[in-house]
Symmetry: C2
Subunit: 317 residues, 2 copies
């Protein structure tokens, strides 16, 4: 059942002992949403705990520093930024079919929860949570603002992508007027700072970036072997996908990352008008119009051909 | 004489045959300010022409496409985004000492014009011009909005840097609500799209990036010879300076670009708290706290040592 702010407020004010689930391969938005919501619940006297199937990457320590929360037997289950129960990872076994409230911004949300507060055109789950907190009149602490800003900034590519709503800018303006937070430092750590290893891997990218379909498609495939040679941890590859649409004529870029089990995680980016979510759906995946993904197993070159064919069809439509 | 919006409006409504001067080595903000102001003047029936000491790079064609303006004998001289007459380049000879109005956001503005509308804390000259147009009640055309957005976006690193004001976000929100402009495409061309040559040069950067002062200073020196070998045009090096503060511990980054006459143009960036404008002032240059520059001639290694010593002093203060 889809609900509005009013019902979401009523639900939140009357819930207790909340477990907040963030999606696997956690990013800035789900971590910001999880820890931001935890702060908001604390403000109204409700204890909560943030969980994730994967460890939170250390680069998000400035958000997770408040701690995931004490152990208790949950009475309420809330999922944030999770469009599909599958994305709960190992928590699907425990909480699958038991989510009381889902707060999300993915238009592809599967409506799997008892109640879903969905704003399908919001930049980020954090944008929805900020507006909900304002609606409820709950004080947003500086840490909470830091979390919610980070989610909006990371999901919008620092206000760069098409998904950046006017509201995202308005929230950033409100936060900059209200809080003495070093936003530039957050942006620097989220978008600019790299390890020397990462810089070296990016340098290798230039040689690996493969143009297909007259340059309209660019594929970048990174294998486990390459990562080992360079001493790069998997979490450092987060944020590589946008590099695939750097060349002027590229319409679709795909980052293929080999996982430890040999399966390739394929992250699609659209430079402008091609809907990559639609392409990924034909390959068993999904996502947003400009950023989507799927997973394929098999030989790397065969997968590249499969992807090329799927993109060729989309370009012809 | 520093003036406010009211006096600036009176001046603009009563001027005619305007030459708008943008600074040498033109960037998104001065081009946006120049062509945006030209649109605003056209709305109130005043003809103008935009001039620059250097050619406008082709990547800004979407702003300059309206044309620089017809030839006429100027009766009014307006400088935009120019803190110091020296930055007019070859136009200093013609218009030096004759600027009737300067519209700027550099706190270091030398107050060289008859009247100066200075908003020293604005993100961009385009932010000042947008607010002036709103104050005047002049219609902002989609092309004008495109120009002003681009100036704000480019000077703020797409809302990433410390100089991004709440007002910059509010203007972006207003524009996104009012205009059907493909902002994401502008951002893509301003921040993401690169030539293959540029990508290769960036790859070379990793090997060239030299850490000094325990990694607190990073220097990246690019010589004429390197550029020739890679077939890179000087204008493609614009935007390289932020690459110098990519590593986590870097406090100050310097991009040294050898000009054709052998002089090195040194662009400083501060990662967080060091004021690089103050450092550059000790070397005959200037700029903003987080982005400044100076020019030094001599042997490359000697210049590196001079720069290192200046940064060492600043770090110790």
């Amino acid at each position: 059942m889809f609900i509005g702010f009013s019902e979401a407020e009523t639900f939140l004010r009357n819930c207790r002992d909340v477990v907040i689930i963030t999606h696997q391969s956690p990013d800035g938005d789900c971590i910001g949403a999880g820890f931001g919501l935890k702060d908001i619940l604390a403000e109204i006297g409700i204890r909560s705990r943030v969980v994730c199937s994967d460890p939170f990457p250390t680069r998000y320590d400035f958000m997770t520093c408040t701690g995931a929360g004490e152990e208790f037997e949950p009475k309420t289950v809330i999922a944030v930024d999770i469009a599909d129960e599958k994305l709960m990872g190992r928590y699907q076994e425990i909480y699958g079919g038991k989510v009381n409230l889902c707060i999300d911004h993915h238009i592809s949300n599967k409506n799997y929860a008892e109640r879903t507060l969905l704003r399908g055109h919001a930049t980020a789950a954090c944008e929805v949570i900020y507006d909900l907190a304002k609606y409820m009149g709950v004080t947003i602490t500086p840490h909470c603002a830091t979390c919610l800003y980070t989610g909006i900034a990371t999901d919008s590519g620092c206000f760069k992508y098409d998904c950046t709503t006017p509201r995202a800018h308005e929230i950033a303006a409100e936060m900059k007027r209200c809080y003495d937070i070093n936003f530039a430092r957050i942006n620097r750590y989220m978008f600019d700072v790299k390890s020397l290893g990462r810089l070296k891997l990016e340098a290798k990218v230039v040689e690996l970036l493969e143009e297909r379909l007259d340059g309209k498609l660019a594929i970048l495939a990174v294998t486990q072997e390459m990562m080992e040679q360079l001493g790069i941890a998997m979490e450092e590859l987060e944020g590589f996908a946008p590099l695939t649409i750097q060349l002027e004529n590229t319409e679709v870029g795909i980052l293929m990352r080999e996982r430890e089990d040999g399966v390739f995680k394929c992250s699609f980016r659209s430079a402008d008008s091609i809907n990559v979510s639609a392409i990924c759906q034909t390959l068993g995946g999904g996502g947003h119009a400009k950023a989507a993904g799927c997973q394929l197993s098999g030989d790397m070159e065969t997968i590249k051909d499969t992807l090329t064919e799927a993109v060729r069809k989309a370009l012809e439509e």
